[in-house]
Symmetry: C2
Subunit: 465 residues, 2 copies
Amino acid sequence: MKHCLAALLLAAPTPLFAQAAELPPPVAVDPRVVALRDAALDDDYAWEITEGLTTEIGQRLAGSPAEARARAWAVAKLFALGFSNVRIESFPVQTGTRGTESAEVVAPFPQALVVNALGGSGLTGPEGVTGEIVAFDSVDALRLAPDSAVRGKIVFVDHHMPANQDGSGYGQFGAPRRQGPTIASKKGAIAIVIRSIGTDHNRTPHTGVMTFSDGAKPIPAGALSIPDAEQLVRILKRGKPVTMRLRLEGTHKMGTSGNVIAEVPGRDLSLPPILVGGHLDSWDLGTGAIDDAAGVAIATAAAKRIMDAGRPLRTIRIVWFGSEEIGLFGGEDYRAKYGKQPHHAMLESDFGADKIYKVDSKLGATRRDEARMIGAALAPLGIVTGSFEEADGSDIGPMLEDGQPGVGLSQDGTRYFDLHHTSNDTLDKIDAAQLRQNVAAWTATLAILSGGIEPEAKPSPPKRR
Amino acid sequence: MKHCLAALLLAAPTPLFAQAAELPPPVAVDPRVVALRDAALDDDYAWEITEGLTTEIGQRLAGSPAEARARAWAVAKLFALGFSNVRIESFPVQTGTRGTESAEVVAPFPQALVVNALGGSGLTGPEGVTGEIVAFDSVDALRLAPDSAVRGKIVFVDHHMPANQDGSGYGQFGAPRRQGPTIASKKGAIAIVIRSIGTDHNRTPHTGVMTFSDGAKPIPAGALSIPDAEQLVRILKRGKPVTMRLRLEGTHKMGTSGNVIAEVPGRDLSLPPILVGGHLDSWDLGTGAIDDAAGVAIATAAAKRIMDAGRPLRTIRIVWFGSEEIGLFGGEDYRAKYGKQPHHAMLESDFGADKIYKVDSKLGATRRDEARMIGAALAPLGIVTGSFEEADGSDIGPMLEDGQPGVGLSQDGTRYFDLHHTSNDTLDKIDAAQLRQNVAAWTATLAILSGGIEPEAKPSPPKRR
């Protein structure tokens, strides 16, 4: 074995040499950026926003009265923090309310399972729908099944999503939720239940949006909690026909949503602004602490810290998007109004509040120094520099696709899908120290993107009478 | 610092010397006990029972049809395993069914909180009860409050239970559930909600039994999940009056419960039997995997392993108690019928399925060698020998108080109260390796208590025709 190892050591350049040969020119980070970054490790703004929004509003489903209260709360908060041009830009959306929801194994082993409807599910009456379960281990297995195996039955789709740091399980293993209902409906299923798209073992189902496409007739579509999905698999393994009664009551109706926007005006208003944001709406089961009170809080806290330091060269525009969860409608509204205007960069925080571990950017070849400067400023926070050709975000995603420049500050998603879209998305899941690391990374990034901050002569405090 | 340390070392006898001076005579463990113990580390019986009961029955509330199905399941299983004298001993209990349950903050920040009724709660109609919240940090604070501060209001009682290995938080910090409702009722409260008696941060309330005593009128009594209790505390901290609407619907009625009993007959039927058990009933929210499918499974697997090895000197009597959760009624029924008869020892497993870390016993001064032998046999499993004057158990507790001898195999309870009495008490929480360590400890203990196992000439298998 020693012989083989020696051969390997001789054959391959050592990583140390490889890195040394490729090291780009050194980057000196402006001490003012360093100071702003390190001061942000004591930030309280982000906690105050996260705590306030989740406590005083709680859940804020897109288009609901709660989301409207959240917009009013946001306007008051952004105004109190001293931002300029605070406003709401409204748009209509389809919304609804959740009713009684239950999933009951009728035979062979009578028992209740925990279920929640997916967003966009068909509804049942109080009688529910009752049928035999036909189970599939993946959406592909469902697609390959003959219609005759599915017709008149309740489809169950399982999956095997891992808890990856980069959240990469969600794309592939989210198919049961995104595509499952349409496929099941087109094959004649009377309903569908899926294993929740998540990585925990709590009796807290993960809801989330799906739409019936290709002319598929809406059918009731529910997510079992992961322990319940595993229970159903065990019951099915006994080899007897399994009958389920599924009740997903509720209402669908039109409502109003909107984006809340505020600004830190730049010294040169003719320059393209920097867009920073997150989304204000949440699912209705939790209080939307990680999804996405923390996101709007991080973006806003960083902008506030820049504003407190003086006046940036470029305008920073804060957007708390509405109706992200049900179809990125806030992003679409912003894009329709402002998407064609140049932006210096777009950044969105929408992946919880755990530490940022990687920064990607897509600022273009001519701005590589700016991108490298951001990487150098974030390295002391334990953040690795990733790609210079990528950035992402939910609401801003389509605009990044359009060619807008962006920076992506990737949060550690290892436990994100334990909580995502469940009732467990509550304030107690936020780690204050990691939240502050986010604010520090965002503040440093904004300080660089802003083009430099000039201290302002503050107006004197009013004299005592 | 070195000087101080040296002084300390000189001042105190080292633990090594202290132990050496007190070491009792050495104990040689019978190699047959060692062999049975170590073989049990590959046990499958306990998993099969735990998996089967939780999958094929699920929840089994005392007095419910599900508990009756569980008794039938238990009889079939115990018979199939080859035990003798398998029987059900029935008794009547008060039972009920859970209806719609909700807790809604009406003002100042409208939002839904997650609540479940406690066992024995008063019920509301669909309109619920609405009132102002009056909050207390402990039952003592509630007791000290003037009636006028409580009358006509909904009481909220908080607590600060830690997650201790020995579960010791449950006694002191369980007072809000056990005593809170009676005290609140007698002071004129219209309802009570408590912070769930638990140590997790999931939106899964902990139910549990309580009774209205001292002539207190039943009032609705609910447990908020811990994140919801913390949310209510944050809302209250804003200093505005908080109004809640509480809906706890359901039914109360009489039902049948019962103990399931089976035996491994001893070689000498005139000797007192060894009672081993756990409880068959569970709360209605989870599938009762840790509470207490695992308990009956561990006790039964150990008895089965002894039976497979031959015939013990003393009879081993297995009891799967009914209606433990709602008031130890199975233990009471057994005690009324058999409690005055001498038993060689009583053992109950009712604290989950995590590893056993300590063995206590109360076998009497004349049986110290037997107690020390048990300690020596369990030490290689990482189990410390505790007291020779103590043993406990839920159903067997009153009989131990009466003077019956017992052995207590204490499980690690660090995460027990994350799950206890919640919907999260499901099979996925059982660690198969730790479950097997339990079976190994029980098997070794039973092998010693049984007085020796003689291999039997097994009846020949029937000849093929």
